[in-house]
Symmetry: C2
């Protein structure tokens, strides 16, 4: 089977992305599972090589379709010619750099839409710069969905080792999150989690559902959502063959999942999952955009402005992001599914 | 200065409380900072001594007022004669044992109301048994307030090492918690946290306030409570001299506090704080009921049914609970404040 083609994007050039990208390519990380093609500005990669004190031999081409994959000695690379890193001091947030970083991602997405790449792994973005630069989305996942003109359900998932965290609601007020909790939303979220994990090679993912209310509602005393919404939704999905359980009091379920009792926790709201995952060090893990037609992964850590240019940035999470993208993309190719839409996958994978 | 008198209560006799209590008294833990008086059934302490393989020489008396504190060789002890532990198999929850455990606490509270003790430290309760036994309160703190006929503001605080965690809302649905957030409530909670920590000897406690909404509301995009309620309340309390800051995004503020940047985090709702503290191992810490006329402390861990009777239960948290009760009670005595009501203390301690 041919390896999937993953575009490697250097992220915001003011951060550690360029030097990490140079090291990833120089060390041949992930090349055993994927065919990597650099998409970005040549000068950004050159700067990254200098910072990381490594050399990457590239074949500079115009599109991924031109890549000569038989040439193992060179990395196929596309020079977008859009970013002169000399204009942006390292370690300083810049709206212009954010705008151009978004442009680079958009260019790579065009290659994906044309069927020339199977997935994207991008080095850290500066979310604030992206926003200030004119990419007005609450997060990059919504930006990707917009650029792909994707209308279905998608969600960020956070992955560390074998733990997959996701949530039923996200960047809305807590009041609105409570309003958004419904049987349909829980079911869709469970299908999306399940299908994405299956796509990543977990055969029968064990999913725990966190309760919305304290003590999982204490039998209805502290809220009735567990009785009227969560329990029926979980039962419905269990009946469809998804290995999901709950709702569980959320102040202990993450501890149990992290101990290995579950592969995944579905959180009801942003901070419920984020408090647990950030305390657990998920910034050392990978973020995947689940549900879109194209797989997107990125190391969960940030641009690390304090160590930019020192050549000491760790590339473990970046490599893990490439490997995850490759795994999902390979399964997508193998199963012949053009998209990861839950409904579509459900028939193939839940059996 | 005479040491405060702290009543030692063995907790639910089906758990590890009796053996912990026996070891605490036998090892003379906390006797350097407090005068301890056992309040419970004699047979429960006898059982605890057997389980822990220790001996405690007691002076059996009727009330704490009868204690002879010059007799260092004996522990003054009150036999309530209400619980025959032979009737309750260790490691099994029992409604009757729960009811009687509540009775024991109520009896100790009567001594407190009569001015014969300055505080209570109790070994682990079985909350479910207490409830099934007829003590129908959402938690023991509300039970204590009821028995003290206390109408003011009080709250559970969780303490580990030098970290103090508390919350503005507690055992209500998440929807109701959002409704309950108000300037007055935040101000009262900050005063209560501040005053309790000052009572425990922290001169100028640094308090961080967790935001209600994700990303602290992202400038109003994800909810306006931070702008309209939290920020004004924090400013008001800072103007009154409390060292409080925020609101901070809650998925990182606990990490910062645990790293030592703050002494305390005020959470907006139950699970926000509980997810963080349980992951951090606050079950090795102490729970204090803040705000009541009398100080109550308890080890934060549970009855540990799996190790009951083996004599291996750790007493570190129990000893820490005694020390904290003694510290607060001593300051209350010294400052001549009969109560820890925030308004009252504010005048004395914020200056």
């Amino acid at each position: 089977m041919t390896k999937p083609i993953i575009a490697i994007i250097p992220g915001d050039c003011t951060g550690i992305g360029p030097e990490q990208t140079a090291r990833i390519l120089s060390d041949r990380r992930g090349r055993d599972v994927a065919r990597l093609v650099y998409v970005g500005d040549k000068r950004v990669l050159d700067m990254g090589m200098k910072q990381a004190k490594v050399d990457v031999a590239c074949n500079w081409i115009k599109t991924p379709a031109e890549a000569d994959w038989s040439d193992e000695a060179h990395v196929p690379a596309i020079d977008l010619g859009n970013i002169d890193p000399a204009l942006f001091p390292p370690g300083l947030s810049s709206a212009d750099s954010g705008r151009l970083t978004g442009d680079t991602l958009a260019a790579a997405i065009e290659f994906a839409k044309a069927g020339q790449i199977d997935g994207l792994t991008f080095a850290p973005l500066n979310k604030q710069a992206l926003h200030k630069g004119g990419w007005h989305f609450p997060d990059e996942h919504k930006m990707f969905a917009h650029l792909l003109n994707f209308k279905g359900l998608f969600s960020e998932m956070n992955v560390l080792d074998n733990q997959w965290m996701t949530r039923a609601t996200s960047h809305v007020s807590l009041r609105e999150a409570v309003e958004q909790i419904s049987v349909d939303r829980i079911c869709d979220s469970l299908r999306l989690s399940h299908d994405t994990m299956v796509m990543a090679g977990i055969e029968k993912p064990r999913i725990a559902v966190a309760a919305l209310n304290p003590h999982a509602g204490e039998g209805g005393l502290f809220g009735r959502e567990e009785i009227e919404i969560l329990a029926p939704a979980i039962k419905k999905m269990a009946d469809e063959g998804i290995n999901c359980k709950g709702p569980f009091p959320c102040d202990t379920i993450y501890i149990k999942a992290f101990a290995g009792d579950y592969d995944s926790v579905l959180s009801m709201y942003h901070d419920q999952g984020q408090i647990a995952t950030k305390l657990k060090g998920f910034n050392k893990g990978v973020t995947i955009t689940a549900g879109l037609d194209i797989v997107f992964t990125t190391p969960a850590h940030g641009t690390a402005f304090d160590i930019v240019g020192k050549g000491i940035a760790d590339i473990g999470a970046y490599e893990a992001a490439i490997r995850l993208a490759a795994r999902v993309a390979a399964r997508k190719k193998a199963s012949g599914t053009a998209t990861a839409s839950p409904k579509h996958l459900a028939a193939a994978d839940i059996a």
